[in-house]
């Protein structure tokens, strides 16, 4: 089969070095001393001007963390992390809380410009027309058509700017950095922080609780449909830093919010740690849609460098009829260890998980989800597409469980893997646990390569091989792509193209 041989050849040639966002910017930084201790935790808390209760919360987590062992059950392999060799706080010097974009270091703005992230409010994403000064009152419940996205830009340890704040405030939506929320809205933070992912949850979540430096906070009050897409853009820039961000999104009764997250980092030889925690709370009838396009630096073709992405993401469908949906496109990071989950506590609540995980070079991905059915008539859906190329290992690990009282719990899971080349591995590890007779769980998984028949079918219509493969791969991931907000869908499709460049063109 020469066609297959060719594909394999192409994959062999493939360079992960094609990472587009690998540039480094030299910005004067304010850093905490290297290493981790109670003093560092106090330092971070003081830098953030946090109240006493927050410091105690952090210290509690730190003491707990000291007693924990690193988890080792995931199918990933990496040298031991020296937690004393990391800077836990790094902030651009010129930003003691800028009040407007003009005060932000122009170098930072350049970074975001380079990344294509619109920080100036008048800017909108390419390809979308701006409507004439849309009035929020008039838009009402309808989908906001202007294509504007409010952005919270997190640079290393701090949030540098949050756009469209005022407009959002008009609708009653609070969108700010978590540090600001701790200062400005302590009652909300106190009420919800750590209620979905407790400080004792797992090794990295506990570490995050102790040292998190920034992240986004979203609060959508009762009955409000958030008038625009919210977005956070994470950028790790500084050397030897770990990024520990914490995101908390609360949708009150009947509220709706769609939130996007993007991430990149410079190209470096050493590995960097990213251990985030994301907590979502959906009350009665609320809906949260959380989309991620994760494109951290994956390391070079030899597997050197790259980000360790150890993230805890969990949504709590606390209210009846609430819904949380996770969509992720994972193309970056040297190692990904990430299981966005849903706790379906409210009756009739729904959880969804759509994922595309593309691994190439020496990337290792161990990702999946957990759907914990607790309430009555809860339902969940998992669609996971893994594409492994090069020397990468791509694992889907997911849990679906129905507890005793979860009458009529329903799950459908489909996880498909595509292998490109014979040096990579694709693995599927689902855990299915039913403790209720009325539960209906279905799980399907397949692993295959692109079949010659499929390729022949496309090629005999005059489409060259590389394009044919690209088409088939696009078809393979379509179900997930269509769940992404439009602006992201375009980016995601491009990203998949870049990740597999050389093998799918």
């Amino acid at each position: 089969m020469p066609a297959v041989q060719e594909t394999i050849e192409q994959v062999r040639k493939i360079d992960v070095d094609q990472y587009k966002y690998g540039f480094e910017s030299f910005i004067e930084m304010d850093k905490a001393p290297k290493g981790l201790s109670e003093d560092i935790v106090r330092f971070i808390s003081a830098k953030k001007g946090e109240p006493e209760w927050m410091l105690e919360w952090r210290l509690g987590a730190y003491r707990r963390w000291l007693t924990l062992d690193e988890p080792n059950w995931a199918r990933v392999d990496y040298p031991k992390i020296d937690f004393q060799d990391i800077y836990y706080y790094a902030a651009p010097k010129s930003t003691p809380g800028p009040t407007s974009l003009d005060e932000v270091d122009p170098e930072i703005l350049k970074v975001y410009e380079k990344l294509g992230i619109p920080l100036r409010e008048q800017e909108i994403l390419a390809g979308v027309e701006k409507t004439v000064d849309p009035d929020l009152e008039e838009v009402g419940d309808n989908v906001y058509k202007s294509g504007r996205v409010a952005v919270d830009a997190v640079f290393d340890s701090v949030s540098v700017v949050t756009t469209f704040k005022e407009e959002l405030a008009k609708a009653g939506v609070i969108f700010c950095s978590i540090s600001e929320a701790i200062r400005e809205h302590p009652e909300l933070v106190k009420k919800y922080l750590g209620t979905v992912v407790p400080t004792t949850d797992n090794y990295y979540a506990t570490l995050n609780s102790a040292v998190f430096t920034d992240g986004s906070f979203v609060f959508v009050p009762k009955g409000v449909r958030c008038p625009m897409e919210l977005s956070t853009y994470f950028r790790i820039n500084e050397k030897n830093t770990g990024q520990f961000e914490r995101t908390l999104i609360i949708a009150e009764e009947g509220a709706y919010v769609s939130y996007l997250e993007g991430c990149t980092a410079p190209q470096r030889d050493e590995n960097q740690l990213h251990a985030a925690v994301v907590e979502l709370v959906a009350l009665d009838d609320a809906e949260i849609k959380y989309s991620t396009v994760q494109n951290w630096y994956p390391g070079d073709a030899q597997g050197k460098g790259g980000i360790y992405n150890f993230v805890t993401k969990r949504g709590d469908c606390r209210g009846d009829r609430s819904k949380i949906s996770w969509t992720q496109v994972e193309t970056g990071s040297a190692i990904t260890w990430k299981y966005p989950s849903c706790i379906l506590r409210g009756d009739d609540s729904r959880g969804e998980f759509y994922s595309i995980a593309v691994s190439n070079g020496y990337q290792q991905i161990d990702s999946g989800t957990k759907m914990i059915h607790l309430g009555k008539n809860t339902s969940s859906r998992i669609i996971s597409k893994g594409i492994a190329a090069g020397f990468s290992q791509n694992t889907y690990r997911g849990q679906v469980s129905a507890h005793r009282k979860a009458t009529n719990a329903r799950n459908f899971t489909q996880c498909d893997s595509l292998l490109i080349g014979n040096q990579c591995g694709a693995h599927t590890v689902p855990y299915i646990e039913a403790k209720n007779a009325t539960a209906q769980f279905e799980h399907e998984a397949t692993t295959s390569k692109i079949s010659d028949d499929q390729k022949f079918y496309v090629m005999q219509r005059g489409i060259p091989e590389e394009e044919a493969i690209a088409l088939i791969v696009n078809g393979f991931v379509k179900e997930v792509i269509q769940e992404l907000p439009m602006e992201f869908a375009v980016e995601a499709q491009k990203l998949i193209g870049i990740s597999l460049e050389g093998s799918v063109g």
Binding site: T67, G421, V429, A439, Q440, H443, A445
Partner: protein, 421 residues
């Protein structure tokens, strides 16, 4: 709070370790065998596996094995009639084998003899730190049968290896070698009465072009602990169909470890697990496709009633050179009671790109549409449910096609429904 506290031995662990000390002088074997036994008991001393050990995730042996009965030589038990008509019956009663019959083309040996002369020592291997069944068995194995079927032998009569146990403890091994081109049907019957603990390890070596149908029928009483392992290696173009029926036991772990090691090898697993009462039944399969052009299909169906807990773990490993592997696995469960539980973990580990692998798993109650269909035709609900559950299981049994095999198995199914339906 530090999680790495010193292991405190559970009563069961202590009982096993103590029993080893007491029985050491009674256990057969030369130096080479005894070394293997010593290593195995050291493994047990390190603690039985907990749910933190991935391969025991749903069967926390350390917690579930609450007590271990003492060895009891006085317990009375009798062999039962063979499952398939006309079988050559070899029985083991309370861990002791009987005199061996003679069949053309087949050599039978009592395993005790092979332990005494040490010729079996090299085969006493465990799979690593999580192989608790292998370790327990290796430490205490005293008897069993060794069966050697000569190349080219086409056995007309099935062979039944029957392990009957009444209380106490027994640890047996059933190594079977099937020569190239030979064909055989083998029944492994695990039965007994009382609250005993039995461990059993079967080892099947299948030569090139050999063909075997192996039936494991386990119907221990609902008070017994049954820890079993079935290991097989398939040569070129060898075909193995393994049928497993679990219809009893309090704590059951049936491991199936198969290696498709010859090109063209084909493995089929068909399983029926009937769970009732307070039982905990775990079927765990690890299947390795190590060479190109091998195939496998697994269909496991489970019915859970009462407060029973069922587990199916199935892992298919496709090695890097094993191109053109075709592997399919399905696990379907009917959960019929509110207090029953079923957990399944069907895993695929794939390192070759030109393969077609898939698995499916479902856990549901009886389809209401099917029930309605029958009830609309005047069938009362209880009967309708019974019919649907039986049809669900019979599908797997009927796949065996051979009537002489299907009928006795369906009868076992009927018996189970008569007492538990």
């Amino acid at each position: 709070m530090n999680m790495r506290a010193e292991i405190q031995r559970t009563p069961a662990e202590a009982a096993i370790v103590d029993a080893f000390g007491e029985r050491l002088s009674l256990l057969p074997g030369d130096g080479a065998v005894m070394v293997k036994r010593d290593d195995a008991i050291e493994q047990i001393k390190a603690g039985l596996p907990t749910r933190r050990v991935e391969s025991w995730h749903y069967t926390d042996l350390r917690r579930l094995l609450a007590s271990v009965p003492a060895f009891d030589a006085s317990a009375e038990a009798k062999p039962i009639a063979a499952l398939l008509e006309g079988s050559t019956l070899l029985s083991i009663v309370n861990g002791v084998s009987a005199a061996t019959p003679s069949v053309d083309g087949v050599t039978f040996q009592r395993l005790g003899d092979k332990l005494v002369d040490g010729s079996y020592a090299p085969a006493l291997v465990t799979y690593g730190s999580d192989d608790a069944v292998g370790a327990l068995n290796t430490a205490f194995v005293a008897d069993g049968y060794f069966v050697d079927i000569e190349a080219g032998t086409q056995l007309e009569k099935p062979i039944e290896l029957q392990n009957v146990q009444a209380g106490g403890q027994s640890h047996v091994r059933l190594p079977v070698r099937v020569g190239a081109g030979a064909k055989a049907t083998i029944v492994e019957r695990q039965t007994g009465e009382g609250a005993g603990l039995a461990s059993s390890v079967s080892q099947l070596l299948l030569g090139d072009d050999a063909e075997v149908l192996w039936l494991i029928v386990q119907d221990q009483p609902e008070t017994a602990t049954h820890l079993a392992q079935f290991k097989a290696e398939l040569g070129k173009n060898a075909k193995l169909t393994l049928f497993v029926m679990n219809a009893g036991g309090k704590l059951v772990r049936q491991e199936v470890i198969v290696k498709a090691a010859g090109e063209g090898a084909d493995f089929k697993l068909r399983g029926v697990n009937l769970l009732s009462g307070e039982s905990h039944v775990d079927v765990t399969m690890v299947l390795d496709h190590t060479v190109p052009h091998t195939s496998s299909t697994e269909v496991v169906r489970n019915v859970v009633t009462g407060r029973a807990k069922g587990v199916f773990q199935g892992r298919i490993n496709v090695h890097q050179i094993a191109q053109k592997t075709d592997a399919r696995m399905a696990c379907n469960t009917l959960l019929l009671s509110d207090d029953g539980e079923f957990s399944t973990k069907p895993e695929l580990e794939i390192f070759a790109d030109d393969v077609a692998c898939g698995h499916g798993a479902t856990v549901t109650e009886i389809d209401r549409n099917h029930l309605f269909y029958l009830m609309a035709r005047g069938v009362d609900e209880k009967t309708a449910r019974g019919l649907l559950v039986r049809a669900f299981l019979a599908e797997v049994i009927e796949e065996l096609e051979d009537e002489t095999v299907v009928e006795p198995l369906e009868e076992l199914l009927s018996n189970w429904f008569a007492t538990h339906g």
